[in-house]
Homo-oligomer: 368 residues x 2
């Protein structure tokens, strides 16, 4: 077991809902995880059948000192289970054991576990505290930070949810060592995203360190997680409930969601769909005259080096572009049927805008 | 059709989440209902199979001027349908028609419709605006005000929900004329409640006007709704998320929830269970030496005059008190298995405290 070591702390400033993201090694078995939990309260660790056997015992031991009782609930693993029936397993478990309003939920897993545990915490007795312990790179740099929680509906991804902030996010870099390479690459999609929308110097750094990141070198991971969280913290701190600016964090996600929905949730990893989606969104930005072809090529090359797909899936053999458009119209950012695209408005800056259907069709046809 | 007339407005002061409660006659068909809605946005009226046929058309016409499209969804009527499957009908309807983030939900009905519509609004795309149009006395004086929304779980009432404030509450007193007498009485339970916990002068007034209220005299109803909302507004304004003071609004509800859960949701109306529950809570207060027997008798007599039960149900033939205790331990106000009772700490003042099981058993045995 690694000795606990904190490499960085990033603070999300949201008034009384502010909280720290603690980044380091050996943290999963350390008291830092439960530092903000009420002493003596019950704890429920929500995890999945993949992560639970690896890390739940270690976390449960670390929590034992602070909590009166620590229970573990393993959910089935995968985006296809991110729906009401699985969410209800959390409520069943809480109610079966008389969990009260002080009970603390710990989300030990990737984005799916974090989204469902956070939403369960938002709803159980109208709100109980929760702590994020993300075990994937994607969750550490993106989904565990910022308080977006949700489940999917058959007609749309993340359609039912809440803005609900955790008390702490603990990113233990050690756990990334057991992450399958495909999952690590998926996480890199969200790391790369922060470059074009906010920080071209960070994009330079990722280009120079992408092999180190794929090899799980701790110093490289620590920097990537820290800088990603800093950028996300800055954006979320200005727009907690996504009334404007925050939408830029969805760069690549509008096209990506269409791929995920069109292929059936779980066929493509979220990060893979975002990888291809960023290429499509960059190409759309170029068509709109906002960036040049060299920028699109540079971003595409980095996405490929990260081990991610750079072409979107064909989701309908007859009218592929039409199916993309149909799915994108039910995206949450759509307004009165108009799709809102996150585009790159010059390198390092994002904007949200509509685009003519004909142009979007061209981009889809070219990029799939 | 009555000409619209506003009798009173009560403001809920919650900073940026502040909103008015508008009380009067002829309001359902008036533009006041949609005054705060965004022009041109979609609207969905959520109602039930009892209220819908009576009032949905009238409301839809009034909304037509403001909204681009107005749709109506009728849910099955009754507390036994206040669960996830029914809630999901709202999400299905919204997604099937491409409802976006600006869509406004209108809750046209009693407490069940209000609770489910409010929770759906809290969760749909992580939050869309909603407006309460309560059609029962109980909803007008209590459940539509203050932002508590929820659904039931097989193991507990209102266990899954959110604090989510409406944009406006419109109380049209005309609709109470079509309310069955049993439902009107159930609403009076929540009106009566405000006396012992906060305002003995209001209790005097109710004693003098209970027959006028049961006869639906508009001036009496207007005063009862207004004063009830004022007291609730005062309490909620100080404690939106029920971390303390707000719990006093649950006077009679801890025993009442046990009756509802023990008999099966829907067998007793919520207000009926609260009526008997207030007698039990008053008797507990007397046992604790906080009020005298005359106070308990006075409150019991008024509850009877309102047409409400004054004795709790026998919910278990073998160990009735034990079953009450078991059900009360999963109440949301319970902490670490200790039931928190709202008691009357001298007439006009409420407090929240624990009580010895043996004493509670005595009270249950005496009051059922």
């Amino acid at each position: 077991m690694t000795m606990p070591s904190i490499a960085a702390q990033v603070d999300i400033a949201l008034g009384e809902r502010s909280y720290p993201i603690v980044i380091g090694t050996g943290l999963l078995g350390d008291a830092v995880v439960s530092q903000r939990a009420r002493a003596g309260s019950q704890a429920l660790i929500v995890t999945n059948t993949t992560v639970g056997p690896l890390y739940a015992d270690q976390l449960a031991r670390a929590l034992g000192a602070r909590h009166g009782a620590v229970r573990v609930l393993e959910l089935p693993d995968g985006e296809q289970f991110k729906h009401w029936e699985t969410l209800n397993l959390i409520f069943d478990e809480l109610l079966a054991h008389g969990a009260d309003r002080k009970t603390v939920l710990y989300a030990l897993g990737g984005g799916v576990v974090g989204d469902m545990t956070g939403f369960a915490a938002a709803c159980y007795m109208r709100g109980v505290p929760f702590i994020q312990v993300p075990t994937t790179l994607l969750a550490q740099v993106d989904s565990s930070v910022g308080g977006k929680t949700a489940i999917n509906h058959p007609l749309g991804k993340n359609m039912i949810g809440a803005f609900y902030q955790p008390q702490v996010v603990v990113c233990d870099l050690d756990v990334l060592k057991t992450l399958p390479p495909r999952e690590l690459s998926a996480g890199l999609a969200e790391v790369i995203k922060y470059g074009p929308i906010a920080d071209m110097a960070f994009l330079d750094w990722i280009e120079a360190n992408v092999e180190a990141l794929r090899a799980c070198e701790p110093a490289a991971l620590a920097h990537a997680v820290r800088r990603s969280c800093e950028i996300k913290a800055h954006v979320v701190g200005q727009d907690e409930r996504e009334s404007g600016l925050r939408a830029i964090l969805n760069f690549g996600h509008t096209f990506g969601h269409a791929i995920e929905a069109g292929m059936g949730y779980g066929a493509w990893l979220h990060g893979e769909a975002v990888g291809a989606g960023m290429v499509m969104a960059a190409e759309l930005s170029r068509e709109l005259g906002l960036v040049d072809a060299a920028f699109v090529q540079r971003l595409t090359a980095l996405i490929a080096r990260a081990g991610l797909p750079t072409r979107g899936a064909v989701i309908d053999p007859v009218d592929n572009a039409g199916r993309y458009l149909e799915l994108m119209r039910v995206d949450k950012k759509a307004e009165a049927g108009a799709i809102r695209f996150v585009v790159i408005d010059g390198p390092g800056r994002a904007a949200v805008r509509a685009a003519p259907d004909a142009l979007v069709r061209q981009v889809i046809d070219r990029c799939t």
